[in-house]
């Protein structure tokens, strides 16, 4: 107990430090001083009066909220001799992978710099500053050409990193029996190779117990109209102004009218005049300096949020806020809690001296494709950029930063992905197996959902209801749960999909063989096929000694020819089997010309009839179809002819060899 109380003392000290350093601590002190300096206060009573005053004036709740927020966002202090890098990320192989990933990003930024000849950062001239100030309101409409700026990385790239990650001291126990011969192949069913400790389904059930159908759920149980009781409760929650209550309220979702107030409360965001000042400072630094990341943000907004059917309206608001975001050094704080570390750049004049490195961009965060979608949906709640900025900051430093850094944290993207795969395997094994066999791994779809926290994939109303729950439960673990639910919900469609594609090929083959039902084509082609087989029989039969030999040869030839023909048809999107009879006629013609004349008249007639109708059919298609068809026919015939050449030569050689042996 002694140790416990000691660590508690440390915690209390930390919290007191936080409060004293904050705006709140200062105003609180002033308020208490004002109260105590009133004439009727006796010095003896101070100790008794201060708590009463705190309670009566509502300061009490504010302090409680700050303490609560601190406990929510900070992990309990660890053992004092833990090295700092272990605090960031306990597993060294993940730490190294993250470092490699960061290096890769940095490298690609540097390449972009040199390729496009854009400096990482530069100060704007005064005239440019004036221009930029004018443009500020119309950021998204500025005519600057961004065409050649590519996002540094997209979710797909990041997923590759995640799936290539594997633990050095973990041997997979689950073998994939389908490729048991290749021991080096995938050792687990899913794409994520790393095994981390996860919550079991039962634990998740307990955690999300308020999501059960016994409870009222906003967005699901109120289709016929809003639930007035829930609304009243929301009003009460706002009046109470107590963070834990607001958080609990959000677990069941809230209505758009109250979302603004309740989110501010639950996230502990106060929009003090100080934060307005701070935002203006950031804005000023945006005006003053031009960064390379500005272009990245601008381009990202154009490609994602600005191109989204609901968010395009807020294009310039989103750009403005994101530019300020990139200048905010307060974000560097959150790197203490994550495996990621901010990239550094060297100032130009002092190359190589570590003293002169600076964090670049100032907030240490390099955007990826779709970053702006974290911010855009909130424009439906507030239009004041400062409030939006403060909320975005709170949401990012509490949740979203985990979605694009490698870590073993239970809410890190790695755990979330593993959670998704494990859950889908446990509860929908058939579906998982089916999709995997189809070559479309479920995680390939779900990864972008999870990495974007579903922004851009759900309708805004639904998305905000989901984010309600993220804040309410203070965890991102709801994302994989929802992703699994989506798969389970669409199970039937997904299971059918594979069948459909098999059916599709079957239909295609049928269409090829039946000429899409064109009767004339069927008559001509199958007539020709019959004739050419007959002709083939009479010309080729004489070469073989026995009938079974001949039949075997003929059938294997037909088999190969049909296979090649249908393969080509599927590939170039044409229909028909004309290549088959063309090749056969070519083969038979070579046979006919180079072998001694057939004495039987009826055979002669059949062969001539075949050649005649071959010429007629080709002429017919030359007139009706494109030239390409005729060329194909002739090529097929020529190939058949050549094949016979080769075949006869090999025959002759064999015969000679046999003769030599007998001699």
């Amino acid at each position: 107990m002694v140790a416990g109380s000691q660590s508690n003392e440390g915690l209390v000290k930390d919290i007191i430090n936080v409060i004293q350093a904050s705006d709140l601590g200062w105003t609180l002190k002033r308020a208490v001083q004002d109260e105590l300096s009133k004439s009727f206060v006796n010095v003896k009573d101070i100790k008794r009066l201060v708590p009463v005053f705190m309670k009566e004036s509502g300061w009490d709740i504010k302090v409680r909220n700050v303490v609560f927020m601190y406990l929510m966002t900070h992990t309990p202090p660890s053992h004092p001799i833990t090295p700092p890098e272990t605090l960031k990320e306990p597993m060294s192989f993940i730490r190294n992978a993250q470092a490699r990933w960061e290096k890769r990003i940095l490298k690609s930024i540097n390449t972009m710099c040199t390729e496009k000849n854009i400096p990482l950062a530069r100060m704007r001239t005064i005239r440019e500053q004036a221009d930029f100030t004018q443009k500020w309101k119309d950021m998204a409409f500025s005519d600057e050409n961004m065409g050649d700026i590519r996002p540094v990385y997209a979710p797909k790239d990041f997923m590759e990193v995640l799936t290539s990650l594997s633990s050095p001291n973990y041997t997979a126990k689950i073998y994939d029996y389908s490729d048991v011969n290749e021991r080096s192949g995938t050792s687990v069913w899913g794409l994520i190779q790393v095994r981390l400790h996860l919550k079991t389904t039962q634990q998740l059930r307990v955690l999300f117990s308020n999501l059960s159908t016994h409870h009222f759920q906003t967005g699901a149980d109120d289709i016929e109209g809003p639930n007035p009781e829930w609304q009243r409760l929301g009003v009460k929650t706002v009046q109470l102004g107590y963070t834990p209550t607001a958080q609990r309220y959000l677990q069941q979702g809230c209505y758009p009218t109250q979302r603004g107030d309740i989110w501010l409360l639950a996230l502990g965001v106060d929009n003090s005049p100080l934060s307005y000042q701070y935002y203006n400072q950031l804005k000023a630094s945006v005006f003053k300096y031009e960064l390379l990341v500005d272009r990245l943000f601008l381009q990202d907004v154009r490609l994602t949020a600005g191109n989204h059917e609901a968010y395009f309206v807020f294009e310039d608001l989103v750009v403005q806020i994101l530019l300020c975001f990139s200048r905010d050094t307060q974000f560097l704080d959150h790197f203490k809690r994550t495996s990621a570390s901010p990239p550094h750049a060297y100032t130009r004049n002092n190359m190589g001296e570590t003293d002169h490195t600076v964090v670049y961009p100032p907030n240490g965060i390099i955007p990826f494709h779709g970053f702006s979608l974290f911010l855009a949906p909130m424009c439906f709640i507030w239009s004041d950029p400062v409030i939006l900025y403060n909320v975005f900051k709170a949401l990012y430093t509490r949740f979203f930063f985990r979605l694009h850094s490698l870590s073993s944290h239970p809410q890190g993207i790695l755990s979330l992905c593993q959670q998704f795969e494990t859950m889908l395997q446990t509860h929908q094994p058939q579906l998982f197996y089916h999709l995997r066999e189809m070559g479309s791994h479920p995680l390939k779809h779900a990864f972008t959902w999870i990495m974007h926290a579903f922004a851009g994939y759900l309708e805004t109303a639904q998305l905000l209801l989901l984010w309600d729950r993220i804040i309410g439960y203070n965890t991102l673990e709801i994302l994989p749960v929802l992703a699994v639910a989506v798969f389970a919900f669409r199970r039937n469609n997904l299971m059918e999909e594979g069948m459909q594609s098999a059916e599709y090929y079957f239909d295609q083959v049928r269409a090829i063989l039946t000429y899409n039902g064109n009767e004339q084509d069927i008559q001509i082609n199958y007539g020709m096929l019959l004739l050419s087989i007959l002709c083939w029989c009479f010309t080729v039969l004489r070469v073989f000694n026995t009938i079974p030999d001949f039949c075997w040869f003929t059938f294997s030839c037909l088999y190969i020819l049909f296979g090649v023909q249908i393969g080509i048809c599927v590939f170039v999107q044409c229909i028909g089997i004309s290549g088959v009879w063309c090749a056969m006629v070519g083969f038979a013609y070579r046979m006919w010309v180079h072998s001694p004349a057939d004495p039987v008249l009826s055979n002669k007639l059949i062969v001539f009839a075949t050649f005649g109708s071959y010429i007629w059919a080709n002429f017919h298609y030359f007139k009706t179809e494109s030239n390409f068809t005729t060329i194909c026919h002739l090529v097929a015939t020529w190939l058949g002819y050549e094949a016979n050449n080769i075949w006869i030569k090999s025959h002759q050689q064999r015969d000679e060899r046999q003769k030599g042996k007998t001699k």
Binding site: I223, G225, T257, N307, F380, T460
Partner: protein, 425 residues
Amino acid sequence: MYNRSRVNRGENRVIRFKCTLQNTIADVLRSRGWQEVKEESGDWDFYWADVGWMREVFDHCYMEEHMRLNHFRNHYELTRKNLMAKNLKRLRKQIERDSGKIEAAKCDFFPTTFELPADYHIFVEEFKRSPNSTWIMKPIAKSQGKGIFLFRKLKDIMEWKKEDSWKIDGTKDDREPVENYVVQRYIDNPYLIGGRKFDIRCYVLVTSYIPLKVWLYRSGFGRMSNTRYSLDSIEDTYVHLTNVAIQKTAPDYDPEKGCKWSLIQLRMYLLAKHGPEAVETLFRGMDDIFIKSLQSTQKIMINDKHCFELYGYDILIDETLKPWLLEINASPSLTASNQQDYDLKFKLLHDVLTIIDMEGKLTGKEKRVGGFDLMWNDGPVHCEDLSMEGAPNPPYTTNTMLGCYNNREDNLKKMMRSHGASNKS
């Protein structure tokens, strides 16, 4: 006679339809399994006609009892800009006479409008009375934003006057007939979202004028202007007009974007910004617009039980969240701009056909069919008790749910099931 009764009971015979448009409506009609009849054939049960046909053929055409047509004879009373203004002014005067000024103020939902050249002098008077206001000129007969321009000085239209060569008193006969315009006070404080102006398109179905029976569709959309709104650039029509037809020709128009917000989205946005009371007042105000505008022509409209009409209402909201009626379209654009838009229009038309009820499946007492809510049936239709127990007062007094969740499939299924059950018994 035998045929007709069978059609009415929806047995055996397939309904034959004729449709001159080749877009969403044709798809919907076919998807119901109806049979298309060729052009020039008068042998139809249902005709989705264009306005031109109404003008030329309607009067010489005999219609059997079961036949249905998608326009009223003089539909233009509401949809021509000048006639609409005239009718609304008349209604306003009448209400002021009957029930006093307060009631009449409910009719102030359309901007001051004058017809040119007829009302030129009155317009000039009004213009001089309110300096610094912006006015908008619209040609009466044209649609889709053609020929519209803005001006602030009388000088601007003087020039235009010369160009178009018309005179206030007496035109020469050898000239082409004068192009009539309406001039309207421009609402220069529109509600902006993200700096963009927008207007709302809602769909209203009238199945009969006497008694007036009006249905309102739950879904609709807000059409966003492509660029930031400012009054400095009154030459730039892209800023000021939200017509899709105009926006489509804008240089940076992206069909994927569509520039449209669903009404649900819009409602959510407004709720978050202004709270439920303000939004409720706004949507009530819009209901008033629908009903009052239809009432203004109720007496002059030639009622015909064969006819129905689907109106597209264009409504603008200003900064104070007051709705303004911009225009009513009798043949709203049914060509879809993207998949989402197509889905909306497809479902809308499907529900229209369900209400028209060629198959004889409805009882006639429904308050809701698919996405449509009956809002006026010779008097306001009140909402059934939607409120939960213990609620102080129900949030909706009339039966309109504009911009609410549109669970039309559920409703249709439920309706068909209950009707099926009652038929069997």
